[in-house]
Symmetry: D2
Subunit: 335 residues, 4 copies
């Protein structure tokens, strides 16, 4: 099975949601209390995916709200520089701030993030700032779950999905669950279910699907059986180092294996995975290839310092795969 | 066309949303500044419909949150007394208050309401307080639009709709739009669209459908064409004294005429209409009869002082209709 | 000792704070759940005192914020009708509501109040709406503690006190503590101390002075010793049916006895006491007489249905006292 | 005139208010959009003064609330390392964050700060967390104006001032006005007046005194005439490069001149001034010397990268002064 996209659209992918600042400790392998210097990067899952797909050659756009300050302007300039269309990013007029993520790398296994997400500009995107004229120009609308966490961003996203479906734009839902922005897991479950049932492709970790289903230790079969009663055609469930599974509505299952690599930190793995996976899907590659691209892209990014700047080019991904394929096959067709 | 309901369910109808207090001026035909005495009644659209259908002989239940005070206890006692099941009403533990509506009747044409809706208990119904075990016992889940206006009541309602659809409970959406509880009409439009598209029956005034569509002076044909692409099977659009139209997915249109009556005030017309209309639908009557029942019930209530206590019995409705039918036919089959 | 007031001021007393609506059960001696009718009166401690002193013949004014609705207009009209100057009452432009108090009279000993105080207009009085030109025209600024419970009303009152002291207007502080509007008793204690120390006269119940001192079971001697180190010249501490004590900075203590009376309800006792007590002080009567007036006024009001409309005239007070004095002496000079 | 301090107290100075993180651009002389690296320092006016006085040899303590995260722990560790007593700093339990200040140095004349002050831990210091046992151990309580901007920090500070006055601890008020944390200048004026009138020493810029007085272009004479009617004994009004004026209640006026220096940035000038000025006062030096120390300390800090780490030692200040005194006399006794 292949997901079919409209062929004659100006944009391959338009992402909606947050674009923030990562402040990555320059010093590694120590607690943040001892880190004295931080390096600034663009961050935030949908921004990273817009950047990642753009670097891979897709035409990407972004719908989001930026703080009216130096950090907001830096983000817009950076996105524009790497080729992302920023014509539908709006600048907040009410003094909201750019979200921040200070990253701590105590060891490759012990990474943590200190988030600043109170009253951030991205969550103030208003439904009136989402334009049908823009969305109908895209093959894919990429929705990030975190943008559903608060009003009015929540309503802006719900509106964008309606407009996408109305205009035959495929909706891809990256669960991207961040607990601290939600009032409760019950609340998150309500919106995750609602949006997943309306999406064409759903991508997330097993833990994130548990949030969606409001349960613990869910199993993939039950998850996909339920969702395939609704809109989804393709569901990707990631299990960390054990790799990922892709399920199609037509009944196929694929397993993608993670590449062994020297891990510097785990940040950015999901976004780089999604970027390359979506790149492959949208350019018409088969699901096995898409899984391979995703894994390769993630393996490259976790070995580098940033999430956004480290996003690989197509050449890097293909070279990485060709070097590794000698060793192990990374996808398995299960059924 | 008839809407089909599950036959073997314990409850005919379970309503979800607000149950409040109406404080109706005892003195009529004067501005409220000069009114010195107020009479207390249960109010709120879904509570009125639960009461109205119960008085007509249906088995009704209610899901909602009550203030932990004298007004909250009065509401629960009143509902129970008229036969509404209150086993799934929960009592607020955080000091929220009962919503109030002071009514002013300057003249039959000039009625207004002074609302107290800040921090009211009904809008704090939590999704965790909505039980699948209860909803699956009903033929119909009646959803009131006002309950979508704020979190967490909004999420409680969205969850109840998912559970209803999962358990083959028909969802009836009474638009019941009250501007003051919403942040913006854009926000209202997002949730009204979302819920209407998932409902089986949608009932509202033409103005309320305009909110749903986020436009002005919409026309019924466009409205029903759009909604019939989704779940709805039956749509009722009310045009005040010009009567109402019922549209079926199978292509029929019916017009219901309003009965002429001595109007005391306009409050309660919508809820009494909905009660009798739904009673007729659920008991298997045809749509023409349902429209007639709705109009008769509304005509009876607008001639009396309260909205809830004035809800008619079946005998009253049938006697009213038989007296009037000599004069005019109240429904017309258009196509 | 007598408190001296400026003789040549246009207003005897200007009160600042809330003016609300009391909704008193028409039915007595039953729980509110069974009360079906409510009668409307102006309420709120400083409004009652402005009304009470005006009925006794003083020239009173009021600084406060009213809802832009029927209840707000009723209050302004009522105050004006009983002679209170309303030229410095401002009308809220942001949709805030009038505070409400539903009163329940289960028995003369069991009275309770159901308050609506969320987002009420009176607590939105802004410091910019307090005018020095007005305050300097008064002999007395009457401050009610409840107006300190929330910003910006809190800052409006703090500003009014500064302006009063600057212009030699005596500050009289009626503690009027209502727990539900404060975040914590710690917070209340901070502002009560601050304002009491800056006031000339402080009036409250023993329980209210405990809040001020942030302790339990405080004793009057410690209370007055502390406060007399600051601005106060006269402190009145009320002990319910055991009567009240008045302490002067110069070292005198007076005890006022409560009159026995047929109590209908306890609401309004404090405000009627304050009205008559202040009337006596401002018109140059001695403290013993002031205590007697206060007790008589309270005894009259607790035997009637309302708090504001029941405020007695001077004749009523004097007649009440002359009838009772045959029996008992109501004040005692202790030292 | 000299300000007299209690001689036998364990702490010379206890500061109350915020302790935050400064993130100073490593790259100078460019807009922040182009800055890629930030260096972390402790910041916040009262923390800087506690650090500055501690480095000068005073025994300093701090009352404040810290975020329960890496930034909070860094601040506590840093303060402790430079000798500040942190036994009365409390750790927030409700997820509030550490305040941040990103500094931008476009040129020595064009410095700006990008603040993160939404929901920061320091503004959640509660009055119940302020201990009389601690405050009574100090010669001086240093109050920073910004801590008055929001509840409950506002009430914690008001309480600390009451406790200080009760225990004969001198209150020094550093106006430290930051517009973005206040609802309005009216609100700021109310609390600035209230606290200034209760303080023994008030230090601020001319602009800050204008906020206190709620006017524009105020003049020093009117300012000090008003404040000397209340508690203040010493008032310092700073006029930037034109130097500063110190006024005593006994009628003296001193002018302190600013030292010419190579300015890197203007941040930290006020705090380093206050640290050295207070050091001199508390150690019994005369006001002329205190002004000189303040100016020298400020001149040293503005030529360095940070505000806190750059705080000079006594030797550095004295050496700086001795080098410069050859050129110009820096204080003038005016009357």
């Amino acid at each position: 099975m292949k997901v079919e996209f409209h062929s004659d659209r100006e944009f391959d992918l338009i992402a909606i949601g947050r674009a923030c600042i990562d402040l990555n400790s320059v010093e590694y392998n120590c607690p943040m209390e001892e880190t004295m210097t931080f390096k600034k990067y663009v961050g935030g899952s949908p921004a990273n995916i817009a950047i990642g797909t753009s670097k891979l050659g897709l035409k990407s756009g972004f719908i989001g709200k930026l703080a009216d300050d130096q950090h907001g302007r830096f983000i817009e300039q950076y996105l524009r520089r790497v080729g992302v269309d920023t014509s539908h990013m709006v600048v907040d007029q009410e003094g909201h701030k750019t979200g921040l993520a200070f990253t701590e790398i105590k060891s490759p296994e012990e990474c943590s993030i200190l988030m600043y997400r109170d009253e951030v500009a991205d969550l103030y995107l208003d439904p009136s700032e989402v334009s049908e004229d823009y969305i109908e120009k895209a093959k894919v609308l990429l929705v990030s779950g975190t943008a559903l966490a608060k009003s009015p961003s929540r309503e802006a996203v719900l509106k964008s999905i309606r407009l996408a479906k109305k205009n035959d734009v495929k909706v891809i839902f990256e669960l991207d669950y961040r607990g601290y922005t939600w009032v409760s897991t019950q609340e998150a479950s309500v919106y995750y279910s609602l949006v997943a049932e309306q999406s064409d492709v759903v991508v997330g970790t097993r833990d994130e699907f548990d949030i969606l289903e409001n349960l613990k230790d869910g199993n993939n079969e039950a998850t996909v059986n339920h969702l395939f009663k609704h809109s989804p055609q393709l569901i990707v469930i990631k299990h960390g180092v054990e790799g990922s599974y892709a399920y199609t509505k037509s009944g196929e299952t694929f397993r993608g294996h993670a590449y062994l690599t020297k891990v510097l930190k785990t940040f950015g793995a999901g976004d780089s995975y999604a970027s390359a996976f979506l790149y492959a899907l949208i350019t018409g590659k088969d699901i096995e290839t898409a899984l391979k691209y995703g894994s390769a892209s993630a393996a490259i990014v976790v070995s580098k310092h940033s999430s956004s700047e480290a996003m690989p080019t197509l050449d890097e991904i293909e070279q990485f795969i060709s070097e590794r394929t000698k060793d192990i096959g990374v996808t398995t067709r299960l059924m």
